[in-house]
Symmetry: C2
Subunit: 139 residues, 2 copies
């Protein structure tokens, strides 16, 4: 038995790829368009960790994707949490829970999927602008 992926539905595929790939740092592995099903599936993973994937499901017929409380978040370890958060911010992503402790941050995808970022190994030394950055919204 083996973990394959966590699937999330996305309203805007371009905005989602901007978030998950260019801002967060995941890589697109494969894509499937279904004309008959009117959907596109895109499989993403971290580089070097291709066995644990996210599947983005984009249904071509618009639907409003609300969140629920039974699902919590998807978590990743990152090499440098400050660099990851800086890159997310340059792509317009709000850091809901800034890494004030050099260890943990939360952001949300365009469809409000909560993403937890954890510093790999020991926490980084506490540093500005993170120390002074307040929480924003919920995650």
């Amino acid at each position: 038995m083996k973990y394959l992926h966590t699937m999330v539905r996305v309203t805007d595929l371009d905005a989602s790829l901007n978030f998950y790939c260019r801002a967060l740092g995941l890589t697109e592995l494969s894509r499937k368009d279904s004309q008959t099903g009117r959907f596109t599936l895109v499989f993403l993973s971290c580089k070097g960790d291709e066995n644990a994937q996210i599947e983005l499901t984009h249904n071509w017929d618009p639907e409003n994707y609300t969140g629920g409380r039974n699902f919590g978040h998807i978590a990743y370890a990152v090499e440098n949490i400050y660099e990851t958060c800086e890159r997310l911010m340059t792509h317009g992503v709000v850091i809901n829970r800034p890494p004030r402790d050099g260890r943990m941050a939360f952001v949300r995808s365009p469809d409000n999927i909560s993403i937890e970022l954890l510093q790999a190994g020991a926490p980084l030394a506490e540093a500005e602008p993170w120390i002074s950055m307040p929480n924003s919204g919920v995650w």
Copy 2:
């Protein structure tokens, strides 16, 4: 960068461990009780695939966990999808989408988290009782 886990909130920890461990087949890796935070975290994975985990968050103060459409499902490859579905049924789990094709099934956790099961490798030969088993509910 590395995938760590997908977190889901659970209303009833015993019912959830019955589902995720005894019925589905995951293994408990670690557990943390927080008296001050009034929550229990339980980390689960497939045997031999400990790097890709599920985190169960059980808040001790009851809350109603509704689902949303932005989260889709968590998917696992299984060695024998018929045996997995039989084990789930003996633990009282409804097979929402039976593996009529010998390849794919869907079930739901006690808190309505959708779980996709995919036969590892080639599909199994189509067989009863699966061929005649209708869909049940949504997944």
